[in-house]
């Protein structure tokens, strides 16, 4: 009733501090690229970071609509490295461009009287096309891009170059995703625990800037969980076959534990291994979302195995119809994030070290900051990233930290909504980009032209 729309004259600009300049926030990650307009609550454009390259023509396909087609010569790649930084700039630029133009700026709605669409004249149409060809996608939109805290200065310079040169942004800013995640949680000073797909990071933020000595990262993140799952599937007594959906032509329901009765699709040219890996990953993601759970007690799963056995199991049905009750094993998968000795052995990969577990990372991160802000930071722990959505994650984190720092007050700030957790850093960017006080921060095109790419190191600290 009371929430009447405010007119612009009533809007409390001084309090809310918003002044939107239709900036675009681009938050690239290992698993997905998030892009959208500043001031919105979720990214409008959510694109899988994996892209397809047809091995014959070398043309790229982007987006979930195309990359999941089981084509014979489609190679799936990812422009990001295992550390969450850009490896393949060519592909990354195209991918991001796709993320922006597919949903945000591709169709520029001009005045219908002048856009020529209503005119009959053929030559005018051609002229318009010519104009659009030469247009850069972001000429009207300042771009706020995110990066990891351990991003290489050269890569940072590259990103401003891309934004300014190939996209023609009027203004650009490069922000750390952990800082933005803490902004998204409403904190300027925080300890950000970010569990993504490729990396888990623990970083202290002071007054909106990262403390470089506190940066801790480890590969024990979403992809590592998948590798744990694969290891689990291969070691269970009747081996669990991981067959992705695209392989199944039809299936019949079977009892739990029984072998699958499904007819598989035959391909003249079998899709590439990378494609299969991508599709398998989708099944594993589903498994992680619905079955995997974090054992909540800080003493670890080893101490509570008996109790864990009594917990009700969860059933998961594979794409081929075989299903199974997962009991204590589902706790095993994520236990390695907390206790490195409990990690399942993964072939061709070294076992995680103790320092890579989350509690140790928090400890190391805190040791890297001034003592005066440690207590403050412990009261503002921001949990973000899709990897933290594993059931029981925040409880375990809280239990671990209270056991580790019994004298300090631990307060964990974890968004309740799935979207807010997954898009934490994008949302923070959306907030930052829509602030009126942020206008003076942008690196303008003029400044870029004056100082060159090195300005990014000078300005975005």
């Amino acid at each position: 009733m009371a929430a009447q729309p405010m007119t612009s004259s009533m809007q409390p600009t001084d309090v809310y501090g918003g002044d939107e300049v239709s900036a675009i926030i681009l938050d690239p990650g290992y698993s997905s690229v998030r892009a959208g307009f500043a001031g919105e609550d979720t990214p409008k454009s959510f694109v899988n970071s994996h892209y397809g390259v047809s091995s014959s023509g070398g043309s790229y396909v982007f987006g979930d609509d195309t990359i999941h087609n089981p084509l014979a010569n489609l190679d799936i790649r990812n422009p990001m490295s295992k550390e969450g930084v850009v490896e393949d700039w060519d592909a990354a630029t195209k991918l991001w461009e796709y993320a922006i133009t597919s949903r945000l700026t591709s169709f520029k709605q001009a005045d219908p009287r002048t856009n020529g669409l209503n005119d009959d004249m053929k030559d005018a149409d051609i002229e318009m096309e010519g104009v659009e060809e030469g247009e850069k996608p972001l000429e009207e939109h300042p771009l706020l891009m995110t990066e990891t805290a351990w991003n290489n200065p050269k890569l940072r310079e590259k990103s401003i170059e891309v934004a300014m040169e190939s996209w023609g942004c009027p203004a650009f800013w490069l922000a750390r995703n952990s800082v933005l995640a803490s902004f998204g949680a409403g904190k300027a000073t925080a300890l950000v625990v970010d569990v993504g797909a490729s990396t888990t990071s623990v970083i202290c933020i002071h007054d909106g800037l990262i403390l470089k000595k506190s940066v801790q990262k480890s590969p024990l993140a979403g992809n590592w969980l998948s590798s744990q799952l694969r290891s689990l599937f291969s070691t269970t007594d009747p081996k669990v076959e991981l067959v992705p959906h695209f392989m199944i032509a039809s299936k019949t329901p079977v009892d739990a534990g029984a072998s699958a009765q499904a007819t598989y699709r035959k391909f003249e040219d079998t899709p590439s291994a990378s494609f299969r890996a991508l599709e398998e990953e989708r099944v594993l993601t589903e498994f992680k979302e619905s079955v995997v759970q974090v054992w909540q007690d800080h003493r670890g799963l080893k101490a509570g195995t008996e109790y864990a056995r009594q917990q009700p199991g969860r059933v998961f049905e594979m794409p081929d119809g075989s299903n199974q009750l997962w009991g204590v094993e589902r706790y095993n998968v994520a236990e390695g994030m907390w206790d490195s000795s409990s990690a399942l052995p993964v072939p061709n990969e070294s076992a995680p070290s103790k320092g890579q577990t989350i509690p140790e990372m928090v400890k190391a991160s805190l040791a890297g900051v001034d003592i005066d802000i440690r207590a403050h930071v412990l009261q503002n722990i921001v949990v973000t990233g899709g990897g933290t959505l594993v059931s029981g994650f925040t409880d375990r984190l809280h239990n671990e930290l209270t056991a580790m720092y019994p004298g300090a007050r631990i307060k964990i700030q974890a968004a309740g909504l799935t979207a807010e957790r997954r898009f934490g850093s994008w949302i923070g960017g959306s907030i930052l980009g829509s602030l009126g006080t942020f206008h003076q921060m942008w690196i303008s095109k003029k400044e870029y032209e004056e100082f060159g790419t090195s300005i990014i190191e000078k300005r975005c600290k």
Binding site: T7, S8, S9, T13, D14, G17, D19, E20, V21, S22, R113, E140, P142, W150, N152, P153, K154, P170, A171, H206, D207, L209, L211, K212, K213, S214, V215, G368, V369, D370, I371, D372, I373, R374, A375, A403, Y405, P406, G407, A408, L435, G436, T437, H439, Q440, W442, S444, K445, K446, E447, E450, K461
Partner: protein, 550 residues
């Protein structure tokens, strides 16, 4: 409760006439209330229901308030806080200009095509605040700012960081990565600090420079207060103490669970002790207030030390002893039961004080209550004051409850009916109303004494009457005897009629309280009959005592 009941209570004439009409009135709007269940309406009874269903007419309102859609324009603006003239654009509501003629395309296009005459400034530019960082020249540096272990290059680097991070020391310390040879490549060397400097080192250096520059700018004697304060802060910074503090804080953070628990319990104990001492000091304060009248909110500092406490205790002991003795000596020292009206101000102050204290004390309130709400502080009244304030201390116990008003009437009402009549007669003669108009204490006392006197008077009257009657009988007996004697002697009876008349007059005289001495002569005359002599004698003695009393 209906209006009838109210009328009954207020003794108003029961107006039965207008009521049915009223009912009809109430019933009329009732039927118009729609959208409510009958049961809900009947809940309200006679009274008209107060919930008025909202009339929802969405369409109408929308149509009524329909205005032409607001026009928004993409307005470019610039931020003067920026060094360059970056022009960004935001959507703003179009100013209420005279509406452009709609319909003719060319016309409106022209209006829009007009270039903006000026680009407005952002309202947020004012928030771009920078910290003032002292700046120095090479000469100044070499003269004043040389410090051991610091090169000018490194100092410059520090000042740059301080400026960049607006004096946020955790950040400055975090990013402090000075490389003497200026190799530039610091991307890979996030952790490799060539010469680790603690935050204290950096602070000391900066404060030294800031202080020196401040003094250079304004000599110490010319400093204003704020500047002087700043100077003192700079000067007083002790890196060793700061380091110690941090070390302590670190150990505090890294406590084990047991240590934390122990500390918690110790803190709890401390809190308890503090609360107890606070309670004690409060009690002490109260005692102090009780000792001193009027109570002063004086300093109780002298009693906070154990020595002072001892002193106070002794003082109290002596006081207590003397008090005990006094209370044994007499009941007049007993404290009055009800709060004296003259001290009400103080009393209310005390009460407020105590409630305030209780509300502050929180959970430990109930335990304190007992001690705090003991005997309230009271001042002993002197006799004069008691009289002044009308304070009395009834010593005799009354059996059972009674009205105070009864105490005025009781002397009259507990007498027999004839007595009452007599008393009222006397009061009427005296012109005193039988019911006191203003029964103050003094008046009541007078009234009581008056009633006592009246009673005495009436008793005396009764006795006098009785005596008169006996005298009269004795006289008649005597007269008869004389008559007989005279008859025996053969003398005539000369005063037969006179005697009767005399007797009558005697009675009248006695009623009018003029007893005169005649009775004595009469009794002297009537001493002959032996039978009655005793009663006569007793009556006579009664009379004599009465007379003596009078």
């Amino acid at each position: 409760m209906s209006s009838h009941d109210v009328r009954d209570m207020l003794d108003l004439p029961g107006t039965a006439g207008p009521r049915p009409a009223k009912k009809q009135k109430i019933a009329a709007p009732k039927s118009t209330l729609k959208g409510l269940a009958r049961e809900v309406q009947s809940l309200a009874g006679d009274n008209p229901i107060s919930i008025v269903p909202e009339i929802s007419s969405f369409k109408k309102r929308r149509l009524a308030s329909r205005k032409p859609a607001a026009r928004w324009v993409l307005k470019p603006f610039k931020n003067p806080a920026r060094g360059d003239d970056l022009v960004l654009a935001h959507w703003r509501r179009k100013a209420e200009a005279p509406p452009a003629p709609v319909g003719e395309d060319g016309n409106s296009e022209q209006v829009e095509a007009q270039p903006e005459p000026e680009i407005e400034n952002s309202t947020f530019a004012k928030f771009n605040v920078k910290v003032d960082i002292p700046e120095y020249t090479d000469l100044q540096y070499s003269l004043k700012l040389e410090g051991e272990g610091w090169t000018k290059d490194e100092t410059d680097y520090l000042m740059g960081l301080v400026k960049d991070f607006d004096l946020r020391w955790p950040l400055i310390w975090d990013r402090y990565d000075y490389e003497p040879l200026a190799s530039g490549e610091n991307g890979d060397s996030l952790v490799s600090v060539t010469q680790p400097r603690s935050m204290e080192d950096l602070k000391v250096r900066y404060y030294f420079i800031a202080d020196q520059m401040l003094q250079l700018h304004t000599p110490l004697k010319d400093m204003r207060k704020t500047e002087h304060d700043l100077h003192e802060i700079f000067e007083k910074f002790d890196p060793n103490q700061e380091a110690l503090r941090k070390k302590f804080a670190e150990t505090a953070l890294n406590r084990t669970k047991e240590e934390a628990r122990e500390e918690e319990s110790l803190l709890l104990e401390l809190k308890r002790i503090l609360a107890r001492s606070e309670k004690l000091s409060e009690e002490r304060k109260e005692l102090y207030a009780r000792l001193e009248a009027p109570p002063s909110n004086g300093n109780i500092g002298i009693y906070t030390s154990s020595q002072g406490l001892q002193q106070l205790l002794q003082q109290l002991m002596t006081l207590n002893n003397s008090k005990k003795r006094r209370s044994l000596m007499g009941a007049e020292n007993m404290s009055p039961a009800s709060g004296p009206s003259g001290l009400q101000q103080q009393g209310s102050f005390d009460r407020r004080d105590s409630t305030m204290r209780e509300s502050i004390s929180g959970p430990s309130g109930p335990s304190r209550k007992g001690t705090l709400q003991g005997p309230p502080e009271r001042r002993e009244l002197t006799k004069e004051e008691e009289k002044m304030y009308g304070v009395s201390q009834p010593t005799e116990k009354l059996s059972g409850p009674s009205f105070r008003a009864d105490r005025l009437n009781k002397p009259i009402t507990n007498k027999s009916a004839t007595m009452q009549a007599k008393i009222t007669n006397v009061l009427g003669e005296l012109g005193v109303p039988s019911r006191l108009i203003m029964p103050t204490a003094a008046v009541g006392q007078e009234w009581e004494s008056l009633l006592g006197n009246i009673q005495k008077l009436l008793e005396l009257k009764k006795n006098a009457e009785k005596l008169d009657g006996e005298i009269a009988i004795a006289m008649t007996l005597k007269a008869e005897r004389e008559k007989r004697e005279r008859a025996a002697r053969g003398e005539p009876d000369p005063e037969d009629d006179d005697h009767d008349v005399k007797r009558e007059s005697d009675r009248e005289k006695s009623v009018s309280r003029s007893v005169r001495g005649g009775s004595v002569s009469r009794s002297a005359r009537g001493g002959s009959t032996r039978k009655r002599s005793a009663s006569v004698l007793s009556a006579m003695s009664d009379k004599s005592t009465k007379r003596q009393k009078k």
